[in-house]
């Protein structure tokens, strides 16, 4: 089992996930599309995962760019 810690950004759709990944990438933050963890939502979709250490920067990029999301959560 990997013990790394992450944060995820929940979004409306895969399209939104890709836009978030794209914008984070342009700001030097590695982001990956993963299935939404079940504890966060019952939706079958994807969300964007970043390393926990990038959470603060991620939050500021998201608010600076005004991208629509459904929140940023630790997992």
């Amino acid at each position: 089992m990997k013990q790394d810690s992450y944060a995820v950004i929940l979004v409306h759709s895969t399209n939104h996930a890709l836009r978030v990944q794209d914008v984070l990438g342009k700001n030097g933050i590695a982001a990956k599309l993963v299935p939404v963890p079940r504890q966060l939502s019952s939706d079958c979709g994807v969300c964007v995962r970043v390393n926990r250490i990038d959470k603060e920067t991620t939050a500021s990029v998201l608010s600076a760019t005004g991208l629509e999301t459904d929140g940023l959560y630790d997992i």
């Binding site: 399209n15 939104h16 794209d22």
Partner: protein, 384 residues
């Protein structure tokens, strides 16, 4: 063989377009947005890259404002059927393709008021006639950017500014111009930009889209169809956000892989460089054809004000006969008849006979234009 039917669909396609499609089919294949495994994410990434390419092409910053459809016809139907209600007024022009005219005429039957502003015999439009047609109830101005029959470009940016000043929206059918002429939704004040992938964007058939500008209220634009979007699966109501609201059902991912490659290819080559080449072809063709006795040309003669679709007739010869003979005796492929645009042919005075249309593209050469002019001269001489 000379392929002069690019106004119907472009051919050949740049090799990168076919390669991108083969790559998707052999290496990825998955459904975008219906799962989160790696191939599904790669498929979704391909669709997203195509959105980015289209957004860049039309100068819009947000890729999610690009909604994919199967062609421009579907994009036009989406707006016309989704936005106009009985009592609304819509303005269109006398050079429209049936992709625009038929859905508009249908809304006319349901109580939408449709004004068709006449165009000149060359296919041009006097902007003041748009101004004069405006009413308080005008919800939409809907026009093509260039005629598929005579190639005449309409003054879209001027009309867009009029739409803004009068608090109405502008829908543009860029079937003939996207990729061949710069289209800038910001500078040209276009609110709804409908495009097709298989003409001057050099993508495959079955691709196209609608780019939705920020002035459009989504709550006032109903989707053409509803269904699975891969998002909000717990809900039985259609999502209300872009692009999902207007993209139900699995997309044509293999086609969009090709479309992205086509748009990138066009942008790398440079729309201005493509435009210069196509204007040279057009000037040479017009010059050549106008020197042949018995040939009547339609549309303006200034290549800067038109795209490389050139219509003409040969005295004493039906377009259908000319088309068959050009194909069989000269290996020259073109399209004859009414080009799905009865309104345009009425405007230029060629209804119901139609015309012979040479539609050139980026891969055509000046030498091919010479050969084509000689072929037409031979046919005209026989009849002369």
């Amino acid at each position: 063989m000379i392929y002069f039917d690019n106004a119907a669909t472009s051919w050949p396609k740049p090799p990168c377009v076919t390669e991108a499609m083969v790559r998707f089919m052999t290496d990825i294949g998955a459904n975008p947005g219906r799962a989160a495994h790696r191939p599904a994410n790669r498929a979704a990434g391909i669709v997203y890259d195509a959105r980015k390419a289209a957004a860049e092409l039309f100068h819009l910053s947000d890729p999610l404002r690009v909604v994919f459809t199967c062609n421009v016809t579907e994009a036009l139907n989406c707006v016309i059927n989704g936005m106009l209600h009985p009592g609304d007024h819509v303005i269109t022009g006398g050079m429209e393709h049936n992709a625009m005219m038929r859905p508009l005429r249908r809304t006319g039957e349901t109580g939408v008021e449709v004004t068709v502003v006449p165009c000149t015999a060359e296919g041009g439009l006097d902007v003041s006639s748009i101004v004069n047609a405006l009413r308080p109830s005008t919800a939409l101005i809907a026009l093509n950017h260039a005629s598929n029959v005579v190639g005449t470009l309409l003054p879209i940016a001027e009309i867009g500014r009029i739409a803004r000043a009068n608090n109405t929206l502008l829908l543009v059918d860029t079937a003939q111009t996207a990729g061949a002429v710069p289209v800038d939704m910001e500078a040209d004040c276009i609110d709804l930009c409908a495009f097709t992938g298989h003409k001057s964007l050099y993508g495959p058939t079955g691709t196209g889209g609608l780019v939705i500008g920020e002035r459009v209220e989504l709550s006032r634009l109903a989707p053409l169809k509803r269904g699975g979007t891969g998002s909000r699966s717990e809900q039985e109501l259609q999502p209300d956000f872009l692009p999902d609201k207007y993209e139900s059902g699995t997309l044509n991912v293999v086609g969009l892989a090709g479309l992205e490659a086509g748009i990138r290819w066009v942008m790398n080559r440079g729309i201005h460089a493509i435009r210069d080449h196509e204007m040279n072809l057009t000037s040479k063709l017009i010059e050549g054809l106008s020197g042949i006795p018995g040939v009547t040309l339609y549309g303006g003669s200034d290549a800067r004000r038109r795209i490389p679709a050139v219509s003409f007739n040969i005295e004493g010869m039906e377009p259908s006969e000319a088309g068959l003979r050009l194909d069989e005796e000269y290996s020259l492929m073109c399209r004859v008849g009414l080009h799905c645009s009865p309104a345009a042919h009425r405007t230029i005075g060629t209804f119901p006979r139609g015309t012979i249309r040479f539609g050139m593209g980026v891969f055509n050469t000046l030498a091919e234009v010479d050969t084509a002019v000689q072929a037409v001269a031979c046919l005209a001489r026989e009849k002369g």
